[in-house]
Symmetry: D2
Subunit: 192 residues, 4 copies
């Protein structure tokens, strides 16, 4: 039976609005995942990788470039993925950071699990959207000190100034209304 | 087929560790709910009702008294309940406040959905526990200005000073380790 | 000797960049105030008055209209004022809200004194500026449920949607770079 | 005329309740500092140094041991110091961390200047006290990854588990009621 990971890489990845699902082997079949998505909100973590000065001030912001399989568009996204059953929020955050940024990014996870923002995605038109599901993401700003080497479906990571990242041009490259979330995270960090 | 609401009132209510499940008609059967709980973390909201001085300082803290159907114990709990599919966090918070405190409590919901604390409950021994499931709760401190009339399974609401609420005696009356969460919320409010 | 209050109403009020100084009788003379401003950062509170739906969602945002005595311009500002020696942050916030919005605004002060944003104003060009001083303001989003009747030097209060308030046109009406702070507060409230 | 730095090292250091004043050359004389302290609240930063696991979870907490010059007691304290005129909060935080922990502590400053707690000290009996002044401190939890070598008046730094740090014994070793602030910071970090 097709496993969640397989389904997400080859099937659901075609969704234009995906939240950047993980491809670690899961225990739900495609059918079970679809079924669960119709029953309850799905819990996600999202992270905005940043480079900081020694004082903690954000100097640049990392956005992932991903190709959409349904359109010719390249989209920009945050680090993002689902919290699995039995997994701690910190562990989910670390897992998705490593998955999306590679093993040498050296992210510094926040000491508190209270997020910088809570993002609510709905499968119908709303401020934030995800056509697959109702998802609630705990979003964090995460300094990285090492070298980022995007893996899996991310083509590359681009580093922008906070002002560039907050521009309308970048917002229009992000799916599901995430440009708004990005600005919220930048404001949280006092970077605008 | 038995609906979730029915199941929770008459079946699962017997759980000593319950999170204060809602009894609004849901669309999951008992079996579907149990199935879902084994697949993904369940999203909850929790609220600590407080009375405040005009300056915002917390003067007293409301805890619900509930009888446990499995033991002879009376337990103390926060307002708590599940976020349903398609439901906003704000709406879930309001629904559970009204359900647990009655229609005349006049809660003042926070302007931000960033919670005061994030509580992670696991079905195995951990800091916070819920034997039924892996649950992640967004927890808020909510001032109420009206009269609270607990409904449903809550026997009554008792008002304590912040210091009384933070005592070991109260912590031992709370299930699943929630005494620790209660102290975290009181500290968040600067009430200790 | 001219008291602080007098000095601020008739003297310093002419500053185009003022933080909205209080006119309660203080104990510093003009000279002492100027001297102190050259020695240490001055502590302020600022508040964005908002109207909220029962769910806590921000529906409109109140900005004060003030005439500048040095220019022909009408500027828009937040509720703002200094924390006095021996005064609690909560009490300073309540005092300035009542001073700027009148006695029937019925503001609901936050339960936590941890601010939504920390604003640093410098007397030289920077993100936020105040030509009179180095000031650090703890900024809050404060729901009001009553009628606002601006007093003192504020001409009136205007209510805008969050989107209108976040516009470039409004930002250009605000002094010292506060348009950026306003957006930060709106994002904190999840209103954008 | 005796400069602030000199005064603080040899004069005010005798205060039992001091906030851990800096000894960098300042521009206020003893008299000017005392005068200013009687006029306005003084702005401070405080930091709780912590060691964290890769996931961000706090594993241990660093408290400074300082001898009191007025009593025979050894007291425990946080990193703490004044924000100077014209100095950014981030820079003040970095300066005091380096001053108290040495140059090889490698603190990771928070990306946001919104503090974990706001501490209000009054010169009269209150929850938090500082007999010298009314002080408002922005308090942060700061992970350190290097080696801490306390300098100046701090005898040493001791590392405790979060539970040990939250004990009544430790609280009674801290001056001005800071045991309460310490617990608030530990709860903020979800470490209790």
């Amino acid at each position: 039976m097709t496993m969640e990971a397989f389904g997400e890489e080859f099937g659901e990845e075609s969704s234009r609005w995906e939240l950047g699902e993980d491809t670690e082997p899961g225990w739900m079949t495609d059918g079970e995942l679809a079924e669960t998505r119709g029953r309850v909100p799905m819990l996600y973590v999202e992270a905005l990788p940043v480079r900081v000065e020694p004082s903690g001030r954000v100097s640049s912001v990392g956005l992932l470039l991903r190709g959409s399989s349904t359109t010719a568009l390249i989209t920009r996204s945050l680090v993002s993925g689902r919290v699995q059953h039995g997994e701690r929020i910190r562990d989910a955050l670390m897992r998705h950071l490593e998955k999306d940024l590679g093993p040498t990014a050296f992210p510094v996870l926040p000491v508190s699990t209270v997020p910088a923002a809570v993002a609510e995605y709905f499968p119908w038109p709303d401020r934030l959207q995800d056509p697959r599901q109702h998802a609630v993401a705990l979003a964090f700003v995460v300094p990285v000190s090492g070298e980022c080497q995007p893996r899996q479906d991310a083509l590359e990571i681009t580093w922008l100034t906070p002002e560039e990242a907050a521009s309308d041009a970048i917002a229009s490259d992000m799916e599901g209304g995430r440009g708004s979330l990005l600005r919220q995270l930048l404001h949280h960090a006092g970077a605008l």
